[in-house]
């Protein structure tokens, strides 16, 4: 049997080479199909990675801690008045890289001509550095130096809408702890840019001490944002935090940004779907090629059987033929995909559609992101579905009876 296998292998490889043009076309179909899937999936992963990263950057962090009910009603009355010592200890663990305390309440900003509803965020500038976008997004004017600095930082779009300018005063207004309207004039000291227009429009930043002063919060805060070592695997840290602060609402970013989370899940599922479609198309190509090759050689198969080759060996022969095509095609496909990803490394600029993309929170440049399990899935699918689909032609090839086959005209 083993000896036969090597003969079968030789026969198969010769058959692949017998019609080079046909084989090359099939190889092209397989390799381009595979390379296309891998490149497109890496772009899709790049897109979703950006989305996840931006979401986390966007004042979310990996984990957020709020007072109970804050997320349902972001009101000053739902503030954290005291951080339990146990929680304090957990937050110092090496799992947690960064921590920022914030005051975050809805309010209003008014200029001479307009007024807009915004989210007023009181921040500690040192803590935000490297945790959220704001520290690195102030492109005009200056960022806060201390947690008690005067002034307000607003987005470029809001600046435009309010028809005001840096260095001018606006009035911020919100509801304080006594449920009364508290308002104050503050000078705009900085303007931030964001790739999301909605962020520029809906967030304004005060230093945390000044925000607490405005709202009469004393030292209370609205939220704690944490950055951990791994944003995709939060569970252990999360449960640790939860058990140390039973009275607070501890949530991971996927739980807070449910829409983004769902979007990412859908994208993951869609990729698998997309893989399957491409691979099924490739499989049809393989089946087609094999059938062509088989019907060309009916007499040959009859002859081989007459000479004593068993039907199972004929099946093997055809299967190995297709396997050879798949393996070579897969190999070329992987090389092509590496080249493709490499070529796209500098990113695809979609700034031509920036207007629309900005609204959906997509960056102007998409960078491919190679994800190993997508690569494995794509390869395995091609291998598995490709070989599976060649069983039928192989079985057909073994069903020709010698007498019938030899007496055929072709």
């Amino acid at each position: 049997m083993l000896k036969n296998l090597s003969i079968i292998f030789i026969l198969s490889s010769r058959n692949v080479l017998r019609n080079p043009r046909r084989s090359i076309l099939t190889l092209l179909a397989i390799s381009f199909g595979l390379a296309g899937t891998i490149v497109v999936s890496s772009l899709a992963r790049g897109l979703s990675y950006n989305l996840a990263k931006d979401t986390i950057d966007h004042l979310t962090g990996h984990i957020q801690i709020h007072a109970e009910n804050y997320l349902e009603d972001p009101d000053v009355s739902n503030s954290i008045s005291e951080i339990p010592p146990k929680l304090e200890k957990v937050m110092k663990s090496p799992q947690i890289l960064k921590k920022a305390e914030r005051v975050r309440v809805p309010g209003i900003v008014m200029s001479e001509r307009e007024s807009y509803g915004v989210m007023i965020v009181g921040i500690n500038p040192k803590e935000e550095l490297g945790l959220s976008f704001i520290a690195e997004s102030v492109n005009e004017g200056k960022f806060f130096d201390h947690d008690s600095d005067d002034g307000i930082i607003i987005g470029r779009k809001l600046l435009e809408l309010l028809q005001t300018d840096i260095g001018k005063r606006v009035v911020v207004m919100s509801q304080d702890v006594k449920n009364e309207i508290s308002d104050k004039g503050v000078r705009i000291i900085g303007v931030f840019d964001s790739q999301f227009e909605s962020t520029e429009k809906s967030f304004v930043f005060l230093s945390i001490k000044k925000a607490q002063g405005l709202l009469g919060l004393d030292a209370k805060i609205s939220e704690i944002s944490l950055v951990t070592k791994d944003y995709e695997n939060l569970e252990p840290t999360l449960s640790n935090l939860q058990s140390s602060a039973p009275n607070l609402d501890v949530r991971g970013w996927r739980d807070i940004e449910k829409f983004v989370s769902a979007l990412l899940d859908i994208q993951g599922k869609f990729l698998i779907f997309w893989f399957c479609i491409v691979v099924i198309a490739i499989s049809f190509g393989i089946v087609n090629t094999l059938f062509m090759a088989i019907y060309e050689r009916i007499r040959e198969f009859g002859m081989l059987q007459a000479l004593g080759m068993k039907p199972i060996e004929i099946q093997f022969q055809v299967l190995i033929e297709s396997l050879l095509l798949i393996l070579i095609g897969g190999f070329i496909g992987n090389i092509l995909s590496v080249i493709g990803i490499h070529l796209l490394e500098s990113g695809i600029d979609i700034s031509a559609f920036a207007e629309g993309a900005k609204r959906f929170g997509i960056k102007n440049v998409i960078y491919p992101r190679f994800v190993s399990h997508d690569w494995i899935t794509a390869n395995l699918l091609v291998l598995f579905l490709g070989s599976l689909s060649s069983f039928y032609p192989a079985w057909r090839a073994s069903r020709f009876t010698p007498a019938n086959a030899i007496s055929r005209a072709t």
């Binding site: 209003i108 008014m110 200029s111 001479e112 001509r113 307009e114 007024s115 807009y116 509803g117 005001t164 300018d165 001018k168 005063r169 606006v170 009035v171 207004m173 919100s174 309207i181 308002d183 104050k184 004039g185 503050v186 000078r187």
Partner: protein, 248 residues
């Protein structure tokens, strides 16, 4: 004897507007207009480029922080009312029979479609507390002295204007109140168009708020009746009265 005559002369000079600081001048002017309590009837005309409309209202005030305005004409607006108590404002619309608290976000917006904002109604007294005042000019005209006061909001004052300029006559009638943005460009201007005796004293009978940035946009209020220092029940300035006016 000479000194006595001098003293006598001094006493006959109208005491008002004499040696007052600009801040006191502004305060007196606001208090003069308000009186301790007041009741006025007036007609408000809103003028725009392509339309114009006139409404009539009654208003009651008490002290500096309580105001009720109720519209009587035209039928479409009759019954609509606004109540200001401290810094809070509510409005009542009879059509939906609902009292709505004016959220702070709306305080900067137009009141009843006019050129007055809710803030102009609610925060008229802020100018006394939240600004620093400077006397720019004194001028004699028509046997009256006119003081021009520049009021600049304090750094942390919840005021969007860059400065305000008031022209106050020596009998505390505000002749002109201008609002400047922070580029010191004039945005809107309140002027007294006609002064007449009413309710026992001289008041600005016709006032006009003009939006300087738009041509032909102004709102004029013509007072037809005014009473000052009258008895007004505290209950007038309540939400229940806002919704359900009755004789008190």
């Amino acid at each position: 004897m000479k000194i006595f005559v001098q003293l006598l002369l001094l006493l006959t000079i109208p005491i008002h507007a004499f040696a007052l600081s600009p801040a006191e001048l502004v305060k007196e002017a606001i208090d003069y207009w308000r009186g301790k309590t007041s009741y006025t009837e007036a007609q408000m005309t809103i003028n725009r480029d392509d339309w114009k409309r006139t409404m009539k209202f009654q208003s009651w005030t008490m002290g500096t922080d309580k105001t009720l305005v109720r519209f009587t004409e035209p039928a479409k607006d009759a019954g609509s009312a606004s109540l200001k108590n401290d810094n809070k404002m509510w409005s009542y619309s009879p059509k939906v029979n609902k009292v709505i608290k004016i959220p702070p976000s709306m305080m900067g917006q137009s009141w009843m479609g006019s050129d007055f904002s809710y803030n102009d109604l609610a925060k008229a007294d802020d100018i006394v507390k939240r600004y620093s005042h400077k006397l720019l000019n004194e001028e004699e005209r028509d046997a009256h002295k006119f003081y021009t006061v520049e009021s600049i909001p304090l750094e942390n004052a919840p005021v969007v204007w860059g400065k305000e300029i008031l022209v106050i006559r020596d009998d505390y009638i505000i002749f002109k109140h201008q609002f400047f943005d922070q580029d010191m460009k004039l945005v809107k201007e309140l002027t007294a168009e006609e002064i007449a005796p009413m309710g026992g004293k001289l008041i600005a009978k016709v006032i006009r708020m003009k939006n300087v940035e738009e041509k032909n946009e102004w709102t004029e209020i013509v007072h037809s009746k005014a009473e000052f220092g009258i008895e007004i029940s505290n209950n007038v300035f309540t939400l229940s009265y806002l919704r359900n006016p009755r004789n008190l």
